[in-house]
């Protein structure tokens, strides 16, 4: 950066400052666009993590056949025992799912009910507040994912009610799987027998951990085969496949949103390029004077690129920083049918924001810079 500016840094900065209204508007525009870009990027990262996660590939979810919303899948609890008897099964955990909203929503609240001890073993959860023992002993106790806690301002001791559901927060947890942090865990019984609930002897889904060396897909096939004769037919898939298919509408939408991300980049590019072209055209004569003084055309080129890069980088970094801060503090998530995608800030996203701001700034400056460095000196001087 310093090499590019060199001794002419004050000139570049002062030139930008001279038209500060224009410069600040451009910086603002670049910031807004990069903000949106980072947001879209974080949603996509969240989706990718959800499906590419190792745990998501290894864990199987047994769900009632042809059902999608968790309220409509009802598996008899004795399936737990029947699956456990199959070779290659390490553990089976029944999970009761309750959500306030089965459709795609930005303010989804998902309760998962599971036997507390089993939950503690099966999931990689770290309590950052509260304690396990209260969760394990108290019937209406719940541990709350960090994201939900942030969004709903929950701390241990809070009472959290939504619809018919009311729980006492026993702890707040973080997880290596960001989507987990959008979930509220209660005991299985609580969700089965709670007020207005009628799920006695029933679970929404069963989570199956295969033993080492067992092919999960093959095991899934065997589970469905074994339960075919039961009262309820099942569909068993890897957790990743289950989540992707549950979120399929959202996945399409998110895939589409990445075009929105690219559109934002195009927007920054054209905005910064336009401003730089204007600034260059204002100064055709000034550049001719500088060349007369002995600045090489290549240096004029670099000065213009530096100008464009500075504007774009400042705007882009501001946008990126604000987006990451908002993602970090907001604890936002999008979800449908009991599966959520977490929006989390990440190092990659921060890095991507910086690199892209810089890159777009350079690209945006190239055309005006060529224009500025190619204009014949005498022609430009005569324009005054």
């Amino acid at each position: 950066m310093m090499r590019l500016f060199g001794r002419f840094a004050p000139y570049v900065v002062k030139t930008l400052w001279r038209h500060r209204a224009r410069t600040l508007l451009t910086v603002g525009g670049a910031a807004v666009a990069m903000f949106v870009f980072c947001f879209v990027g974080s949603v996509q990262e969240g989706l990718r993590r959800l499906t590419a996660d190792e745990d998501a590939q290894r864990t199987l979810i047994v769900f009632q056949e042809n059902r999608f919303c968790p309220t409509s899948s009802r598996l008899p609890l004795d399936y737990v025992g029947r699956i456990q008897k199959l070779p290659g099964v390490a553990d089976v955990m029944p999970v009761q799912v309750w959500t306030n909203n089965c459709r795609a929503s930005l303010d989804i609240v998902v309760f998962n009910g599971a036997p507390p001890r089993q939950l503690r073993q099966a999931r990689d959860l770290t309590l950052i507040a509260g304690n396990w023992s209260e969760f394990e002993t108290r019937r209406d106790a719940a541990i709350v994912g960090r994201n939900v806690a942030q969004r709903r301002r929950l701390v241990p001791g809070s009472q959290f009610s939504i619809g018919e559901m009311s729980v006492k927060v026993a702890g707040v947890f973080s997880s290596s799987v960001p989507a987990e942090e959008n979930v509220i865990y209660t005991s299985l019984d609580f969700l089965q027998y709670g007020r207005g609930q009628d799920f006695i002897g029933i679970a929404t889904q069963l989570e199956v951990k295969p033993t080492e060396g067992t092919d999960p897909n093959e095991l899934a096939r065997r589970i469905d085969e074994a339960l075919k004769s039961g009262p309820v037919a099942t569909t068993t898939r890897s957790k990743g496949a289950f989540q992707t298919s549950t979120l399929s509408d959202l996945v399409d939408l998110i895939d589409f949103a990445h075009w929105l991300g690219y559109a934002c980049l195009a927007l920054v590019l054209s905005l910064v390029a336009t401003t730089t072209v204007m600034s260059v055209q204002d100064r055709i004569q000034e550049h001719a004077v500088l060349q007369t003084l002995g600045l090489r055309p290549s240096r004029i080129f670099r000065l213009v690129v530096a100008e464009s890069m500075l504007v774009c980088t400042i705007g882009g970094l501001c946008g990126t920083a604000v987006a990451l801060a908002a993602l970090g503090l907001g604890g936002m998530a999008i979800g449908a049918e009991g599966v959520t995608i977490a929006f989390r800030p990440s190092m990659q996203l921060a890095l991507l924001g910086c690199v892209i701001s810089l890159g777009v700034g350079i690209v945006a400056g190239v055309f005006p810079a060529i224009q500025a460095s190619r204009t014949p000196i005498v022609t430009a001087l005569r324009q005054g």
Partner: protein
């Protein structure tokens, strides 16, 4: 060998179907320390000649050699380097960078030279002192009068200790009194610092301060005596 040698210089412009040839086979020698003024009717190619000596325009044919370097053969980049080291250019108007102070404007050409920061600072201060504007160093162009702006332009033209300084109507947009100040200044720079100068002007009084007076007409240079010239205009 003369400091500046112009040999058989020809330049023409095309305007639609019409071809104008303001300079045709021009020859001129400028010795070190010369102060040359050039007059002539409007549109005869005075500025064009000056621009080619300055290395900001190229002739169709012919050669210009300055201090042994044939500048007409240099590439664009090399020519820029040559200008930085050897040329001072005094414009008629609008020549300062508006966002920079007088000091920074004068400093600009010296930023391109391989000299230390201390040396640069010294040269800028000396140049500002030479034009009598040391007390205006921190002023921006918009805070200066036309005459002061022109003096800053002159300081900028001499700060790099150029081989030759050219000036295209340096007093063209100044009132009579300010014009006289500039004349005195240019004359002093030539006499006291031995700066070689090539100046175009329409004002016979300005032309009179030069040591050699040239007249350009129909593509050719005629050397005149000052009394003849004053009579003609």
């Amino acid at each position: 060998m003369a400091l500046v040698e112009i040999r058989n210089l020809t330049k023409s412009f095309r305007k639609g179907d019409e071809v104008i040839t303001p300079l045709e086979g021009v020859d001129l020698d400028v010795e070190s320390g010369d102060f040359i003024s050039m007059m002539g009717p409007s549109g005869t190619g005075k500025s064009t000649l000056l621009n080619m000596v300055s290395g900001i325009d190229r002739p169709d044919s012919g050669a210009i050699t300055v201090d042994g370097v044939e500048i007409t053969k240099l590439s664009r980049g090399k020519l820029a380097d040559w200008r930085a080291a050897n040329l001072g250019y005094i414009f008629q108007t609008h020549n300062l960078v508006p966002v920079l102070t007088a000091y920074e404007n004068v400093e600009l050409p010296s930023l391109l030279l391989p000299i230390s920061a201390a040396e640069r600072c010294k040269r800028v201060e000396l140049a500002l002192e030479a034009v009598g504007l040391s007390d205006r160093a921190d002023h921006y162009p918009r805070q200066l009068s036309g005459g002061q702006e022109q003096r800053v332009g002159i300081a900028r033209a001499i700060v790099a200790h150029p081989t030759v300084v050219v000036a295209d109507e340096p007093t063209g947009s100044l009132d009579a009194a300010t014009s006289v100040q500039i004349q005195v200044l240019l004359k002093r720079l030539n006499r006291e610092l031995g700066i070689t100068m090539l100046m175009v002007t329409h004002d016979p009084n300005v032309a009179a301060i030069a040591t050699r007076r040239l007249y350009l007409d129909r593509g050719q240079i005629v050397e005149t005596r000052s009394d003849e010239l004053v009579g003609q205009v």
